[in-house]
């Protein structure tokens, strides 16, 4: 319980070696050990979605996962997704549409939205609302977020079309 365990993982493409208490969750590990404070903590019981990150390509709630469970895994946070440019168009769409106010839900909202956009090239508004329904936003009322995700999907589709031979 009180003995730190060694873990080795990749975070945003960088190798990380650490010793962690078995009880520390992934969200606290990212925030407190690695100072990756873009991952936010809202409810700490897996409901609000603010702590969403990617582990081995899948979105997870980092408050419901222990740091020891990501031993050997690849973790991606908003900082990594921003630096790589993977979601720069989605971020721009959020900015243009004012799809964020206080910004606390935003990193996780972007990660959840990108998860949908990778799986479906042209999701309808209902599908977008459904996919994001695990991410709580108290500020926007969601419509601007749905608009921004929809606009990104359309832009990506037309970009992909124009690139096709």
């Amino acid at each position: 319980m009180t003995t730190p365990h060694p873990i080795s993982l990749e975070v945003n493409g960088e190798r990380v070696e650490a010793h962690v208490l078995p009880r520390i969750n992934l969200a606290d590990f990212l925030r407190e050990h690695l100072k990756l404070t873009g991952t936010h903590v809202g409810c700490e019981h897996g409901v609000c979605g603010a702590c969403t990150v990617r582990v081995n390509g899948e979105i997870v709630r980092s408050c419901l996962m222990l740091a020891v469970q990501v031993n050997g895994a690849s973790v991606e946070t908003i900082e990594g997704l921003s630096d790589s440019g993977e979601i720069s168009d989605l971020q721009a769409a959020f900015r243009e549409r004012n799809a964020l106010q206080c910004g606390y839900c935003t990193p996780a909202m972007l990660i959840s939205a990108q998860d949908l956009l990778k799986a479906k090239s042209e999701p309808g508004r209902e599908q977008i609302r459904e996919h994001l329904s695990g991410n709580y936003c108290r500020c926007t009322g969601y419509q601007a977020i749905v608009d921004a995700v929809e606009a990104t999907a359309r832009a990506r589709k037309s970009r992909d079309k124009s690139r096709a031979p």
Binding site: F94, R95, C102, L110, C139, G141
Partner: protein, 797 residues
């Protein structure tokens, strides 16, 4: 104001080439938040910082018999375990009353309870440790012995003689009572063709900001100065209160507000645990951090509403409303909150009921009672959802009684758009509202007549849809009438300082704050427009009592109207100063010059004369080249407060279109419309998004949100799985339209827009549900409209 005026009015300083006023430009600096590079208080760490976790009462009402802190003190990482008695030597208690709310009483509240606890969740001891986890571990080892007392939970019984009095020194559980009797109410009811009455019930709910309340307090003993990093809407208010109760001068307290993860009124109050954190920092001479967890948020963030309001309306067969009468009862927990008090909401209900309508006959009583539940206070749209729901549901009930269409009865009774200025029976003064223009626009947007046809057709297929309409008025741009006259040191004025830096960019310091509404953007838009510089060159600094002018902050829909006007006036002075210098350099006159696209230009032909960057270079580095006697002032400060009207009232109207599943009781929101009149619109996109966000908070109250207490005062759903909030899947698209009636009190003409959405959303939904249920003869006057409530009304369960 009619619809022809639906474009922003001409403003000499703002209606300029390349003006940002009225444009949907993106907010500055959003990339910081989009990339996870914001700095919320939760993210902050300081050297030698320790973490406080509070031991909180499991009982709603109990005597504290003993507290044994010794075992906890021995736990690893523990720095201190502090009780209320120990902390009382550092910080004094407070009483949440205001002198203009006559008769309002409350008991002294302490940072940490002594002798007695009055609600489940009140702190009884603080554990300070090197990490939050260590502090949480040690909390388990603080042994507190309680003697449980009978809890006062039902507000209807709070005033009964058999009910225990929570604070013996106050004599009873009545915190505040206000009555009003205007016109000839009895005669009006006696002469009415129909009188309809109902009791309206509004559940307790709460703000559920995604970032919980958080504070880092840093007492530097060597400087004798306390720096408070806090997600607050009102930094100068926090500065004043912290200094007052810690025995410091205000100059010894600095309040810094970085990014804030949602506020909505939750973060505009002074909380006991935050006061305890300031005091602990002073006591321990090091930085102390407190971040509420979600259970603490539910148990200690202010709750809102919790009203039972009886109301009646008199109406003639032709639809003329003859009178309104209400009797409102609200439970506020064991203390009136500090310093804004918990009587403001009931006071607003009395002020606002019947507000959109012409009848002069209005009688009201509001009583505010203490209970052993969490504290209740001002949350987004304070009092408006109660007043709007009671008024608009009564109007719909009256219309149904006389067989009149809900639109027709409103058209007959809404104050005419050419009747201003005028006043309400409760004494509210309206400068210029646009109820009829707003209603007409709404009906057009929603295609009302077609929806009625669709509704009738679907009813034949056993599909039950409803339309609900709610007109409302909203208090914005409050003057000193709100708090200042009652003795609270909460400023109603705001200040803005603008200066040209040495490269021709603009730095702007404002006393309004940002929690995502767009304060930074509207300030930059106004300053950029007046100065003729691009927004990218305007840097806005907010949320720091050491850095900004003194002012109120962002609450009560005041940021744009008050802080925006101060920005406008400050920028005008700087512009004049720049043109004077430019005239001297260019051997011209200020009248012949203007500023556009970051350069001084000829007013006549817009030819660029000198770049602002070059002008700044001359002023700051080669003043020797200026003509003798010229002392440029490239910094200007102006303050603003409304003086003519106590409040700049806005108005609007909302409509809901929804479907009730009469087998399951579920409500599906199909569409929502809002027409709002907030005067001059600085950024249409930001206004619309404030409205949408506000509507969804109102929809949460209408359908989902309820703090469920048991009879012992235990909050039984203090988590996000059991307390339901609106999520994207259940929310409709919301169409927003505008009528524009600027206030003539300021040059900017802007009124507030932040709370309008919340004011009327629940009323629109309630009217729509009752409209859908009309064939069943069922009427529900309670929110949230849960499936259980609906099925009960339908006699299905």
């Amino acid at each position: 104001m009619n619809e022809q005026a639906a474009t922003p009015q001409t403003l000499s300083e703002l209606d300029r080439p390349n003006s940002y006023i009225g444009k949907s430009v993106p907010r500055p600096n959003l990339d910081r938040l989009l990339q996870g590079r914001g700095l919320y208080v939760s993210d902050m760490e300081l050297p030698r910082m320790v973490h406080v976790v509070f031991v909180r009462s499991p009982h709603a009402h109990a005597k504290i018999v003993s507290i044994d802190t010794q075992p906890a003190r021995k736990m690893p990482g523990v720095v201190a375990v502090v009780t209320g008695e120990e902390l009382a030597a550092v910080i004094t208690p407070w009483v949440g009353v205001l002198s203009h709310l006559k008769g309002l009483k409350s008991a002294p509240q302490r940072a940490i309870a002594i002798e007695k606890v009055c609600w489940q969740g009140e702190a009884v001891a603080a554990v300070v440790a090197t990490s939050r986890a260590a502090a949480e571990d040690a909390v388990e080892f603080v042994a507190v012995e309680y003697q449980e007392l009978e809890a006062v939970t039902d507000m209807r019984a709070a005033l009964d003689s058999a009910t225990p009095v929570i604070h013996a020194s106050l004599g009873d559980n009545l915190a505040f009572e206000r009555t009003l009797d205007a016109g000839t109410v009895d005669a009006a009811f006696a002469g009415s063709d129909e009188v309809v009455e109902a009791e309206f019930v509004f559940a307790r709910h709460t703000g559920v900001t995604l970032e919980p309340r958080a504070v880092v307090a840093d007492w530097n003993a060597a400087e004798a100065r306390l720096t408070i990093y806090q997600g607050t809407q009102a930094p100068h208010m926090v500065q004043n209160i912290a200094a007052l109760h810690l025995g410091l001068e205000e100059a010894q307290v600095r309040v810094v507000c970085k990014d804030v993860g949602g506020s909505f009124g939750i973060k505009v109050h002074i909380y006991a645990d935050e006061m305890a954190t300031y005091a602990l920092s002073k006591h321990l001479r090091r930085p102390v951090k407190f971040v509420a967890d979600r259970i603490e948020s539910f148990n200690t963030d202010i709750h809102a509403r919790d009203h039972r309001c009886w109301g009646r309306i008199g109406v003639q067969r032709d639809g003329t409303i003859t009178a309104f009468e209400i009797d409102d009862l609200t439970g506020i927990g064991p203390y009136s909150m500090y310093p804004r008090t918990s009587a403001i909401e009931a006071n607003q209900v009395v002020n606002l009921v019947g507000g959109p309508y012409t009848t002069k006959n209005y009688r009201a009583r509001a009583r505010v009672v203490f209970q052993n539940k969490n504290v209740m206070c001002q949350y987004r749209a304070v009092g408006h959802p109660i007043a709007c729901s009671v008024t608009e549901e009564l109007v719909d009930l009256a219309a149904a009684k006389i067989g009149m269409d809900p639109v027709a009865i409103r058209r007959r009774n809404l104050i005419a758009d050419d009747a201003y200025p005028c006043a309400s029976p409760s004494g509210l003064r309206f400068e210029l509202l646009s109820h009829h223009a707003a209603l007409n626009k709404l009906l057009q947007m929603m295609n009302y007549d077609a929806l009625r046809v669709e509704q009738a057709a679907l009813r034949k297929q056993n599909i039950h849809r409803g339309i609900g309409i709610a007109s409302f008025i909203e208090v914005t741009n409050p003057s000193a009438a709100f708090y200042g006259v009652g003795g609270a040191k909460i400023s109603s004025q705001d200040g803005v300082a603008v200066r040209l830096d040495a490269q021709g960019a603009v730095i702007c310091q404002t006393s309004i704050t940002e929690q995502g509404q767009g304060s930074e953007s509207l300030t930059a838009q106004i300053v950029g427009s007046v100065l003729g510089v691009s927004m990218e060159k305007v840097r806005v600094i907010l949320g720091d009592t050491d850095q900004t002018p003194y002012g109120g902050g962002t609450w009560a829909s005041r940021g744009a109207g008050i802080g925006g006007e101060a920005a406008l006036q400050a920028a005008k002075v700087l512009r004049r100063n720049i043109l004077e210098v430019a005239a001297a350099i260019l051997q011209s006159t200020p009248a012949e010059l203007d500023i556009a696209n970051d350069a001084v230009v000829n007013a006549s032909d817009r030819t660029p004369r000198i770049e602002l960057r070059e002008l700044a270079r001359v002023v700051y580095f080669r003043p020797d080249t200026l003509p003798p006697g010229i002392q440029p002032e490239l910094m200007a400060t102006r303050h603003y407060v409304p003086r003519q009207y106590p409040f700049a009232f806005t108005n609007g109207v909302q409509a809901s279109w929804l479907e009730v599943d009469t087998d399951t009781g579920f409500v599906k929101l199909l569409k929502h419309w809002v027409v709002e009149d907030c005067g001059t619109i600085i950024n249409p996109q930001l206004v619309d998004e404030q409205v949408r966000g506000g509507v969804v908070q109102g929809l949460g109250a209408a359908l989902f949100e309820k703090c469920i207490y048991d009879e012992r005062g235990q909050l039984t759903n203090a988590n996000m799985a059991d307390y339901l909030v609106p999520m994207s899947g259940e929310m409709p698209d919301i169409d927003v339209g505008h009528v524009v009636s600027p206030t003539a009190e300021s040059e900017l003409g802007a009124k507030g827009a932040g709370e309008a959405g919340t004011a009327g959303a629940a009323a629109a939904v309630a009217n729509a549900v009752n409209d859908a249920l009309r064939p069943f003869g069922a009427v529900i006057t309670e929110i949230p409209l849960t499936p259980q409530l609906i099925l009960t009304a339908l006699k299905r369960i």
